[in-house]
Subunit: 168 residues, 2 copies
DNA sequence: AGTTTATGTCAGCCTTGTTGACATTCCAAG
DNA sequence: CTTGGAATGTCAACAAGGCTGACATAAACT
């Protein structure tokens, strides 16, 4: 049937069997649940959702970013993002400033309150990530990052790499 | 501030800096988008969503499983799962049989049509996973699985391990 | 002046999560 | 044996957050 189910010589490519691939798929599913569990708990207490978290995260990561840039990172419609941004601005977590060079653009920043929430969410998520990283060691972490990067769509990898370089 | 931002000696634990952890977080975010992109496309053409995919995947993985067992794997409310199951049953993709031992239970199976959709979705997802795995090699894949497994909640890791063992 | 770009907003729809109420079935204590 | 509670699953209604489409405004570009 599928290419990898025809076992070759026997010694190599065993990690490409359908069964190994299925395990990879399930690992992604269950791990992503854990990955979002802590922030989700914090957010729901404050009446926010995962969408607010994503906005806050990437505004923190690229302060002064425009709405359009955020849209292409998040991959949602402007209507959907706008709903989230509006509540964050109304609640005083995000500051939206009209661009100086181009006055059509809005540049987004976290207020001190926004930074506080970002820090709370980010700390929870980093704690879990740190525990996992520490448990498995640096080489596993390299492999982890390599596989994830290879799994991204090209557009997303561009954003990922850009964010990565900006902070190195 | 956080533990890992105090750089230690210099040679070790560099993979535990806040910056490294943030990169791990963003890698998860962007990779998960890619991970679900192909099935999402297929599903939306047929009027289904990610919830249907999850149900189909785990029914295929454990034929005859009960609604309750599926609930604990998926981590949603039974009402939410029920809506998805109802449409799958109505559309003839899933077969629900009243339990013989305990008539309160419903045992779930994929029909041939359900298996066909499962195969289509699963093939698309495995293709991406296979391309990523092949690109980075077996050692990276081991690291990938180790990190993901360490990131799961205990309950979820139980399910993950159980599924893994059942198929080995 | 006319067009394109960036953004915001309104209206309405869909999926998928939630809670509450209820029916059925099983089992165990009286 | 019966009765009450626990387990299982269904139906109804609501909320969050995706989506599309239409439209408004202001600024920039040609």
């Amino acid at each position: 049937m599928s290419e990898s189910s025809r076992q070759p010589g026997g010694e190599s490519l065993l990690f490409l069997t359908d069964e190994q691939l299925r395990k990879g798929i399930e690992a992604m599913f269950f791990a992503y649940r854990g990955f979002t569990a802590d922030p989700d708990r914090i957010l729901s207490e404050k009446g926010y959702g995962r969408a607010h978290h994503r906005a806050i995260h990437f505004i923190n990561r690229s302060p002064g970013t425009t709405v359009n840039n955020l849209l292409s990172i998040l991959g949602v419609t402007k209507q959907s993002l706008n709903r989230v941004l509006r509540t964050l601005i109304e609640d005083g977590l995000v500051d939206s400033r009209v661009g100086t060079r181009d006055k059509r653009e809005r540049h987004l920043f976290l207020t001190p309150e926004g930074e506080a929430l970002e820090s709370e969410l980010s700390t929870a998520q980093r704690n879990r990530m740190r525990a996992a990283f520490r448990q498995v060691g640096p080489e596993a972490v390299v492999g982890f990052r390599q596989v994830l990067e290879a799994m991204m769509d090209n557009d997303m990898r561009r954003h990922y790499t850009r964010l990565r370089e900006a902070s190195e």
